[in-house]
């Protein structure tokens, strides 16, 4: 990757061209690989054509007729799949809301991300290209989340995904159950947890109504309230709530509150989601789940099972996997979906749970999640089936740019570890001591 920067720097200095125009000028055809487009059947030997950071064509044949000037990359014997999407990650040494209280809607997680964290290098080594980076689960509301592309970055701005309305893509992180229960000013019980959340949303509704009533009249407007401004986005459905929730009754509580205040919610972890799969399906709430190698470790994960993905699939729930990195390592994220298959999930749904389902959950499915024309050229080159332990991620591309190459010694180091691979802080997870109890 260092080589890439030197090259880019040279080009910028000499030619004065930006990276994006560079990408626009060239057309690249990846030829001969097995292609798993996610949308549509798997292609035994196909062609993927990329231009200007976008996919322009996916051919189900191996014919080599290309426009003049097309760079041809032979990937025979390899496997191409869309860049992997993680709907719940804590990479970057993040810390959201602090210990001063349980509700922090004004806190932006992107103010707390170190883009030089080696966690990002490990993520691209695992084939990840898009992440939802979130603050921890030690609060009822620990702050805003941010959806990022794993582009080469000097500052977090280089990773942002911009929405059509000019906002930075992201959600709102909430949690219930045991993590946020502790001494004052935090809630001590589940009833108190729900009441604090309801109080917060009621106040946000009132603020929203006051703003509406004031209209253009500056004098009637209430003072700016940073937290409530973002809560209004939540109330209006313009910012999705990503809700950590494990126990069956906690899941139902989330659905109850979502119904009362009309916010859109993604249920995260849902260790006991298999007990209330039909209720989740009926509510139309998508799930973002993870598989941990054994149940327990915290009381709410006592009933965590490998079959959750399979049971949610059968119930018809839109389901994606997440790393929860550092809980699990992004480098072995493919493994999680494979374990889902081990416990009864279909291959197709397990693959979607790494790609298209995540794209839908992050509402970016018009840009990412599958290998289709006009989508971002985010893809992974594998040397075997995505669900084999022996398969390696060889290369990872974001918007047509190679961000990981296993044959590069430095990238290899991050793919497997070793001396000098990392010197990162653990992410700040408020209340972890509490979780240990």
């Amino acid at each position: 990757m260092r080589r890439f920067w030197i090259l880019l720097f040279t080009l910028v200095v000499i030619g004065g061209v930006s990276r994006s125009t560079l990408a626009e000028e060239s057309t690249t055809a990846f030829v001969g690989a097995k292609i798993i487009p996610i949308v549509g059947d798997e292609i035994e030997r196909g062609v993927l054509i990329v231009k200007g950071g976008k996919i322009v064509e996916v051919r189900a044949t191996d014919d080599r007729k290309f426009a003049d000037g097309t760079e041809v990359v032979d990937v025979s014997g390899k496997v191409l799949m869309p860049g992997i999407i993680c709907t719940h990650s804590h990479i970057g040494g993040v810390g959201g809301g602090d210990g001063s209280g349980p509700l922090h809607p004004e806190v932006r997680i992107y103010d707390a991300i170190n883009v030089r964290s080696s966690g990002f290098r490990r993520a691209v080594a695992g084939g990840l290209t898009t992440l939802n980076i979130m603050p921890g689960s030690g609060h009822l509301l620990s702050g805003q989340t941010v959806y990022v592309k794993l582009r080469e970055a000097r500052t977090i701005e280089d990773m942002f995904i911009m929405l059509k309305d000019g906002r930075i893509a992201g959600g709102m992180k909430m949690a219930n159950g045991t993590n946020s229960q502790r001494g004052k000013p935090f809630p001590g019980t589940r009833g108190k947890s729900a009441s604090l959340v309801r109080e917060m949303f009621v106040a946000a509704q009132e603020y929203r109504d006051k703003l509406a009533k004031a209209g253009d009249d500056e004098k009637k407007r209430p003072d700016r309230d940073l937290g409530k401004e973002f809560l209004i986005e939540v109330l209006e459905g313009r910012r999705v709530v990503h809700h950590h929730t494990h126990r069956n009754d906690d899941i139902i509580t989330v659905l109850r509150l979502a119904n009362e205040f009309g916010f859109r919610v993604v249920l995260h972890h849902v260790s006991e989601g298999w007990m209330v799969a039909d209720e989740i399906a009926e509510a139309g709430a998508p799930c973002s789940i993870l598989i941990i190698d054994s149940p327990g470790g915290k009381i709410e994960a006592r009933n965590l099972i490998f079959e959750t993905g399979a049971i949610l699939e059968k119930a018809g729930v839109l389901t994606a996997f997440h790393t929860d990195d550092w809980i699990t390592d992004s480098r072995v994220f493919l493994r999680m979906a494979a374990l889902g298959v081990r416990a009864g999930m279909s291959r197709q749904k397990a693959l979607e749970a790494l790609t298209m389902a995540g794209a839908k959950i992050l509402e970016l499915d018009d840009r990412i999640g599958s290998l289709e024309p006009n989508k971002d050229a985010d893809f992974v080159v594998l040397d075997g089936d995505p669900f084999s332990v022996y398969t390696k991620v060889l290369q990872t591309y974001v918007e047509g740019e190679k961000v990981f190459d296993r044959s590069d010694p430095e990238d290899h180091l991050h793919a497997v570890g070793g001396f000098g691979a990392g010197h990162d802080q653990e992410p700040y997870l408020c209340c972890r001591e509490h979780e240990d109890d």
Partner: protein, 411 residues
């Protein structure tokens, strides 16, 4: 999935036929048997009599007794050995009263026995067993300077007395950040850790001399803490030292040189930097889990370390290790799988959880390979044991069947 169900069905039928739990003879037919005593056997048979392996070989060369319980499997391996775990002590719930792997009242407590803290009914014992693990080296965890003793036990039994292989397998020492204290408590530094250990061992040497004294005036009173360390100095029990950083590993060797005890190196995240020293010391390595979090003391860990150590001729065992949070236990099969994919290969990785694990723990006379006279411990798989989508479909422990992975049926 079909293969998996078929495997379950065969095993279920076989189990139905055999209601006599103490039936003397069991036979296993498999497409491939990894005996770990030479090349794998294609189309092989294992016969177990009275809980011990009575015969193993190619079909046709081994007689299946007519009244034997017969199991069929795709792949058979020796029952898997977790070279270092805390299962049975670290209960499934993270409640303090369910966590018996670390006692924080004093930094040096070699007298703490694992057998007094092991819950044979903790669900995580059955959890690891369903993935083929039949023997665990478990006990007090890394996290105190001398955290206590470890033991070796089979993953089947009603109480700790059932299937106990060795009551005291090692005394666990931590030369890592996790055992260092904050504030005014000791040990707060590396130097202090070493001085406290040396002090304890020197006092033990003095104690041993005084215990031998014929003069009743000079003969030391029994000190059962020092008795445990004396067994280490007499080389009856090894010291298992958890050390990750290269300098901590060097400290372990310096200590072993001074006091001449049997050393097992545990964790050893930076062992890839210490190959020459490890070879010179002639010690085996119980390597950190491959999917352990590469932070703090483990920031230079690598998935390729197992292969690097093996290639240097160092005996390597794989461990599930100790987790303070989630997953409450790792599964050693899954950890070895990552090593298999990163240079060790199938058989090399299998060694780290069978025969080489048994050699490190010095229980290879009983377990670790499929050989006549050894315990009837086998694991059945419906494919390459390390593939993510393979299933462990059952195990035999001393010839007794226990089910493998069972998942809720989803049609």
């Amino acid at each position: 999935m079909n293969r998996f169900l078929a495997g379950i069905l065969v095993l279920a039928l076989a189990a139905l036929v055999s209601t006599d739990a103490t039936a003397a003879e069991v036979a296993v037919r498999a497409k491939t048997i990894y005996t770990m005593e030479g090349d794998p056997i294609t189309d092989g048979v294992v016969v177990i009599r009275d809980g011990k392996i009575a015969a193993v070989g190619a079909a046709g060369s081994v007689n299946i007794p007519s009244d034997a319980k017969v199991y069929d499997a795709e792949i058979v391996t020796p029952g898997l050995i977790d070279t270092h775990a805390t299962v049975g002590l670290t209960g499934i719930l993270n409640q303090k009263q369910d966590q018996d792997q670390l006692e924080h009242s004093e930094p040096i407590q070699p007298q703490l026995r694992a057998i007094d803290a092991y819950n044979a009914h903790d669900p995580l014992v059955a959890w690891v067993r369903q993935f083929g693990v039949t023997t665990v080296h478990t006990g007090h965890a890394p996290g105190e300077l001398v955290s206590g003793q470890t033991m070796i036990i089979k993953t089947r039994g009603n109480t700790v007395n059932d299937g106990l292989v060795r009551e005291t397998a090692a005394v666990a020492v931590t030369l890592a950040k996790s055992a260092r204290k904050h504030g005014d408590k000791s040990p707060g530094t590396r130097g202090k850790m070493m001085s406290m250990l040396r002090e304890a061992l020197i006092e033990t040497q003095t104690y041993m001399r005084k215990r031998e004294s014929d003069d009743p005036e000079k003969k030391a009173d029994r000190d059962f803490k020092k008795e445990v360390l004396a067994s280490v100095l007499r080389k009856e029990v090894p010291l298992m030292v958890t050390a990750h950083r290269a300098n901590d590993i060097a400290n372990a060797f310096r200590l072993a040189k001074e006091f001449d005890f049997r050393l097992i190196l545990d964790g050893a995240a930076e062992s890839h930097l210490m190959i020459d020293e490890i070879k010179a010391a002639g010690v085996p390595v119980i390597l950190h889990p491959m999917m352990a979090r590469y932070y703090g003391d483990l920031e230079n860990a690598s998935m390729e370390t197992a292969a690097i150590l093996r290639d240097a001729g160092i005996l390597v065992g794989m461990q599930s290790g100790f987790e303070g949070y989630v997953p409450k236990t790792r599964v050693v099969l899954f950890e070895a799988a990552i090593a298999a994919a990163n240079g060790l290969g199938l058989e090399g990785a299998l060694r780290t959880i069978t025969i080489d694990a048994a050699k490190i723990l010095e229980i290879d006379d009983r377990v670790g390979s499929i050989a006549v006279g050894k315990d009837g411990d086998l694991a059945f798989f419906d494919g390459d044991p390390f593939e993510y989508t393979t299933h462990c479909v059952g195990v035999l422990i001393d010839g007794q069947f226990e089910p493998g992975e069972t998942y809720k049926q989803i049609d």
